[in-house]
């Protein structure tokens, strides 16, 4: 037993470590090899050149970034709003929280299909507009003539689906803030807004960090929502990666795309960690 205590932790983490080496680190090495490899063998940037020079690349990069830039701030604001609303709630808190976290369990594909039911030609938005007499025959929203509506539909579906994960992290984070701080703030006469900006927000920094990193990474992985709503109308990076692999059967290019998405994700993660860094010893 005494011997155990030294070796046991390593025995316990061994399965995860092995597993991650085999299915996380090893494929990562493979994908890098594939991306930097070329048909003649040896190292080259050919694959990167190929995907970057393809006419769809700038569009899909722009679309992905634009979508993230539109969706993530709204989600953050919405999640913060919902989290503060819930923290004051007395009656029905559990019910409201359950409803608000439902999308957490819903896949991006299902979310895309749900919003397709609203935006498609015979869908509920058309039916509603028709019922109000705004239009008399159904409009086809999701076409290449309406790129902005396609964008809005995808953004709405994303906001609808993925705000919940931020909400959960933030509610958990708010739950960790000692109530005494608010009582002290009340005694000193701080307004609710002041309490939010001076107590909740700074104390919530670790949770905000987690929430944002997770969300931003997922935002760059956006794929199925777009596939369901926009199809090929709205190319995004992950969709192009999928297309390289299956439609064009070019796994080298797919690997290069994967590394590009990876690089963007890591870059943004570092930026978020830097901006929201918590000074050592300042955590609760």
């Amino acid at each position: 037993m005494l011997l155990n205590a030294r070796i046991l932790p390593y025995v316990l983490i061994l399965p995860v470590t092995l597993f991650l080496c085999l299915f996380f680190i090893y494929p990562f090495v493979l994908v890098s090899q594939q991306a930097f490899g070329s048909s003649e063998g040896g190292w080259s940037l050919d694959n990167f050149r190929e995907v970057v020079d393809y006419w769809k690349f700038p569009i899909s990069l722009k679309n992905t970034l634009l979508l993230a830039a539109a969706v993530v701030p709204i989600q953050l604001a919405l999640a913060l709003l919902m989290a503060t609303m819930v923290s004051k709630m007395e009656k029905g808190r559990d019910m409201v929280l359950y409803i608000w976290t439902i999308p957490l369990g819903i896949s991006d594909l299902a979310a895309g299909i749900i919003w397709l039911a609203i935006f498609e030609q015979s869908g509920f938005l058309n039916s509603m507009l028709n019922g109000m007499g705004v239009i008399d025959k159904p409009v086809n929203f999701l076409t290449y003539q309406n790129p902005w509506i396609v964008f809005v539909a995808i953004a709405l579906a994303e906001i609808w689906r993925a705000t919940a994960i931020m909400l959960v992290i933030l509610v958990a984070g708010i739950g960790l803030i000692p109530k005494e701080y608010y009582e002290a703030a009340d005694v000193f006469g701080a307004s609710k807004w002041k309490q939010f900006t001076r107590i909740t927000f700074p104390m919530l920094r670790p949770s905000l960090q987690t929430a944002l990193v997770l969300r931003v990474i997922l935002a760059f992985e956006i794929f199925a929502v777009v596939a369901a709503l926009g199809g090929t109308l709205f190319p995004v990076l992950m969709g192009e990666t999928y297309a390289y692999q299956f439609d064009l059967l070019n796994s080298g290019a797919a690997a290069a795309m994967a590394l590009i998405i990876l690089a963007i994700s890591i870059g943004f993660t570092l930026i978020i960690l830097r901006i929201l860094r918590v000074p050592k010893g300042a955590s609760i």
Binding site: F19, F24, L30, M85, T101, W115, S127, E221, I261
Partner: protein, 279 residues
């Protein structure tokens, strides 16, 4: 202005603030529920009604769309595959992840920081992308197009969560309970099975369900790694362009139902799990 009017006014603003608050909560609830309700209408309507215009805002409780879904070739197999893969993922991620969560919560050991970094790193990576090289590796090992192969990838997705969630659950059990058990005649193992396990079981169940949902919902890796043995998400994705609307909606609905149930089942744990998993 007299004091009385001032008080009256602030009471008024407070009252309207209260209404605004209630209205916003109600609106946000509706924002989540109404789209799901629309999907429900479509699912419970006949294919003709689904494709007609304008739409009714109440379901007609016609099951022919669902029947069509069930009869569509390959759909039921895909549903079965999804369940199998998700169950495998659930079991593997807990069996592999929970011991590490326990080690993190109970021991200080050289390399702990590095290990935590490895776990956190996986969260910072778009993991489904790694399905691409794995496709090649699986072909070499005969794991290609199998439920087990896909479950391995889904387990990679679920493991960081499993480790961090079980870590926070184990941290919630005072070490003294285990120590007391040791002094009362338990070995490490019996102390774990007699004291820690009974206390932690509901939480473990919750994180297992979480792993199930992660696998159930995953689209990209599933589409990359399966060809004949498609999961439901991969099947729907593959047929998005060609399948009729009522099929998409019925499929989407089938995807959503377990989510509703699972989130309800684990709702008590969602917040506790994230509270500590944050740090």
């Amino acid at each position: 202005m007299t004091d009385a009017t001032a008080v009256g006014m602030s009471a008024d603003t407070r009252k309207s603030g209260r209404y605004l608050y209630i209205a916003s909560v109600a609106f946000l609830c509706a924002w989540v529920i109404v789209p799901i309700y629309f999907l429900l209408i479509n699912t419970l309507s006949s294919p003709e009604a689904v494709n007609s215009f304008p739409k009714s805002f109440v379901p007609e409780f016609d099951f022919s769309s669902l029947q069509f879904f069930a009869g569509f070739e390959g759909m039921l197999t895909a549903l079965k595959n999804s369940v199998i893969v998700a169950l495998m993922t659930m079991v593997m991620s807990i069996i592999i992840g929970a011991p590490a969560g326990y080690a993190l919560s109970r021991f200080e050991f050289p390399g702990k920081g590095l290990f935590r970094l490895l776990i956190l790193l996986t969260r910072a990576f778009p993991l489904p992308l790694l399905a691409l090289p794995l496709a090649v590796m699986f072909i070499q090992t005969g794991l290609d197009d199998t439920a087990f192969g896909l479950a391995l990838v889904h387990t990679t997705l679920a493991i960081p969560f499993a480790v961090l969630i079980t870590f926070s659950l184990f941290s919630g059990i005072p070490i003294e309970l285990e120590e007391a058990a040791w002094t009362l005649g338990c070995t490490r193992l019996t102390a774990f099975t007699k004291v820690v396990l009974p206390l932690i079981l509901p939480g473990i169940t919750a994180s297992a369900i979480f792993a199930f949902v992660i696998s159930w919902n995953e689209v990209f890796a599933a589409a990359v790694l399966t060809i004949e043995n498609r999961t439901l998400t991969a099947f729907l994705l593959q047929n998005l362009d060609t399948s009729p609307l009522h099929l998409k909606f019925a499929g989407g609905f089938i995807l959503v139902v377990p989510a509703l149930i699972f989130i309800f089942a684990v709702r008590k744990y969602l917040f506790a799990m994230w509270g500590i998993a944050n740090r």
